[in-house]
Symmetry: C2
Subunit: 360 residues, 2 copies
C-alpha cells in the first residue's frame, strides 16, 4: 500500500516532507557521519539542533523572553502531576474546568495533591460544548486555573482564551498547540505531548513563566521539578534527542509553510469543509455545539451504527485509516491535525459521499 491518509488522534500523521528528510539523514546527519540518534546530547551537533528547535518554536509562537521552553518526557499524563507539584506554591487549592476525558484525568491526578474546585463543567450536555466564562465559579484562593483547550474525544475546542486575572492560567494544549495563534503571555503554564502537532510520542513540550519556578511540593522527584530542567536547558539528564530533532523539522516545516497564520487558515478550511459536509447530509451526524467544534478532532456518527464496520473497512481500502471513534463514544472520528493536508480531507469527503450514495 502507498502512503495513506492517517486520521489517528495520536500518535498522528507527520508531514511527509519531514519524514523524507529524516529518512535521508537517518545514517548520516549533514555529513557528520552519525545518525541524530547516535549523537551525544552534549556534543555541538545536537546542542545546535536543540537550540534551533527552541528558537524556531519561540518564533512560531512568539514566546516572550520571560517564559522557559522545556523539552521533557512523560507526556501530558506526567504533567497532570507536575502542574500541581510545581504550581501550588504553598496553596492548597486549584481550579479545574472539566470539558471531557482529558480534563477529568488532569483533575483526578491533581486531587492527589490539592483540593480541586471544578470551576465549570460541560458534563450536563455530555461534553459537547465548552462552558461560557460567565458560568465559571473561580476560587479566589486557587493557585492556578487549569483547562483543556481541545478535547480529542468529544471534539470540543475553546475558540477563546479564558480570563483568570492574576491567577496563573494553565493549559493542556496537547491536541491543538501550533494549530492557531496563542497569546502565550496570558498563560502561566502551557504543556503538550508531542504526538499530535509536534513530533513523535515521548517528547513533551512545556512553556512556563519563569516566576512560577522553584517552589515544588515536598517529595517532588527532581525530574518533576521544572526548575531542574529550566536551569539546565533541558539537559539535566539525557533528553529524547531524536524526538527533539523531528520536532525541530516540524517547526521548520511550519515556518516554510508560512507559520501559524497559514496553518490556522488551512486548519479552518479543512474543518469547515468536513463539518459542512456532515451537516449537509442526513446520513452523517455531528452532535457537538457548532460554536465549540474542534478544528483538530471531528467526531461524527453514521445514521445507522450497523454500517460502521463497512465504513471503516471500505475507507481503509481507499487509503483512509484510523477513522474509528474513541471506544467511549463510538462512531467515527477524523483527526485532522496540522500534518493532514487539505487533499486528505477532500479524499475523505469524496469517500463519504460515495459511501452515502451506496448505503444511504
Amino acid at each position: 500500500m502507498e502512503r495513506v491518509y492517517n486520521f489517528s488522534s495520536g500518535p498522528a500523521a507527520l508531514p511527509q516532507e519531514v519524514l523524507a528528510q529524516a529518512q535521508e539523514e537517518m545514517l548520516n546527519w549533514q555529513g557528520c557521519g552519525m545518525s541524530v540518534m547516535e549523537m551525544s546530547h552534549r556534543g555541538k551537533e545536537f546542542t545546535g539542533i536543540a537550540a534551533q528547535a527552541e528558537s524556531d518554536l519561540r518564533e512560531l509562537l512568539q514566546i516572550p523572553a520571560n517564559y522557559k521552553v522545556l523539552f521533557l518526557q512523560g507526556g501530558a499524563s506526567s504533567q497532570f502531576a507536575m502542574a500541581p507539584m510545581n504550581l501550588l506554591r504553598g496553596k492548597q487549592r486549584a481550579d479545574y474546568v472539566n470539558t471531557g476525558q482529558w480534563s477529568k484525568k488532569a483533575i483526578k491526578e491533581a486531587q492527589r495533591y490539592c483540593t480541586v474546585n471544578v470551576a465549570a463543567s460541560s458534563a450536563a450536555d455530555n461534553f459537547s460544548s465548552t462552558p461560557p466564562q460567565a458560568q465559571w465559579r473561580l476560587d479566589p484562593q486557587a493557585a492556578y486555573v487549569h483547562y483543556t483547550p481541545n478535547e480529542t474525544i468529544g471534539g470540543v475546542e475553546f475558540h477563546w482564551t479564558p480570563d483568570t486575572g492574576r491567577v496563573p492560567l494553565v493549559a493542556d494544549m496537547s491536541s491543538n498547540i501550533l494549530s492557531r495563534p496563542v497569546d502565550v503571555g496570558r498563560y502561566g503554564l502551557i504543556y503538550a505531548g508531542a504526538q499530535k502537532n509536534i513530533g513523535p510520542a515521548g517528547l513533551t513540550l512545556v512553556i512556563v513563566r519563569d516566576d512560577l519556578l522553584g517552589e515544588t511540593l515536598p517529595g517532588t522527584p527532581t525530574l518533576f521539578d521544572y526548575k531542574t530542567h529550566a536551569d539546565n536547558g533541558s539537559m539535566y539528564n539525557t533528553p529524547p534527542t531524536y524526538a527533539m530533532y523531528i520536532a525541530g523539522l516540524v517547526f521548520k516545516w511550519l515556518k516554510h509553510l508560512g507559520g501559524i497564520a497559514e496553518i490556522e487558515w488551512r486548519n479552518i478550511e479543512k474543518a469547515t469543509r468536513l463539518y459542512a459536509a456532515i451537516d449537509g447530509s442526513d446520513f452523517y451526524h455531528c452532535s457537538t455545539a457548532k460554536s465549540d467544534r474542534s478544528r483538530m478532532n471531528v467526531p461524527f456518527a453514521l445514521k445507522d451504527a450497523a454500517l460502521d464496520e463497512a465504513f471503516l473497512k471500505q475507507a481503509k481500502a481507499s487509503g483512509l485509516v484510523q477513522l474509528k471513534g474513541h471506544r467511549s463514544v463510538g462512531g467515527m472520528r477524523a483527526s485532522i491535525y496540522n500534518a493532514m493536508p487539505l487533499s486528505g480531507v477532500d479524499a475523505l469527503l469524496e469517500f463519504m459521499r460515495a459511501f452515502e450514495k451506496t448505503h444511504g
Copy 2:
C-alpha cells in the same frame, strides 16, 4: 564524511543494519502506508511491534515469567526516584553501593525519600575499583540494595553479582544491559536508560519482580507507579513508540547475531584488545583496577595531557569521534557498547599506534 566510528558514552552508536532498516521503513512500515511514528499506540500494527520487542527481550535475557517488562520514559534519572517510591514498601531505609558518579546521583535522589546506608564505597581509591562483597555492611532493615553494575565515567564494572539474600537487589544497568548474560532471577528490579545498548534516548527499560508492585509512597505520581504501567502493558499513556520500535530492531539484530553469548564474546574481545594495547604502551595509561575494568567504557590518559587536543583532532579526522573523556576526569574515553564493531576498535588501535609513533 562517511559513517564514523562513534565512541560516545551515550546516546551512542547504533547498529548500522538497524539504522538502515529504519531508514527503509521510515515512510511506510511493512506496506501499511504509515511511518511507525504515525501509528496509534493502540492500533494492531504498533501493538504487534511492542509485543514482539518484549518477547525478543524476554528471550534474550531469559526473563522469568514473574517479572514485568516495562517500556517507560524519563531515563535512569527518573528511576533514581521511582526505585525508592516503589520499593520502600513501608520501610524507611535502603542500602546503596557507591562506585562513582551514577551511584552518587542515585543515592542523592533516594535520600529525599529514605535513610540511605552506603553499604560499600570505592571513594577511597577514587572509584577505580568495585568494593568486594566481603566489605559490604548491609543493613538488615534495608528495603532493598541498590548498585550500579557499570560506571561510565570511572570505567568500572562488576564482573560478579552481589548476594543480598532475601533483600531485593536493584541495579541501574543503563550502561551494560544486554552486553553479557544476567541472571534476572537474582534481582528485584533492573532498570536501564536505552541510549547505550538498547536504542534511542527517551526510552527506559524496567524489569521488575511482580511481587514488589503495588505499594508506593504517598504522593507518588501515577506515572511513577510501576503498577500503573504493569497493569496496562506499558500503554497507560502513550509510550515512546518510535524508540520502542528501534529497540525492537536492536533486539532482533542481537538475536540474529547469536544472542547474548555471542555479543559478550565480542565485547570481551574488543575490551581485551583495547586494554592490552594501553597496558602495553608507555604512552597511554589506564588507572582502573584490572579485575574491575569495564567492557563498555574504557577511560585512558595520554602521558602528556598537552597532547589531548591533537589526539582528539586527528582521531576525528580519521573518522574516530566522541573520544573525549568526561569533564570530571579528563583524558580520553572509548565507549564500546554492543553496536561498536571489532573493526571500530581495531581502527582506534591503529590510530593510537600511529599517534604514539609521531608524538611518543
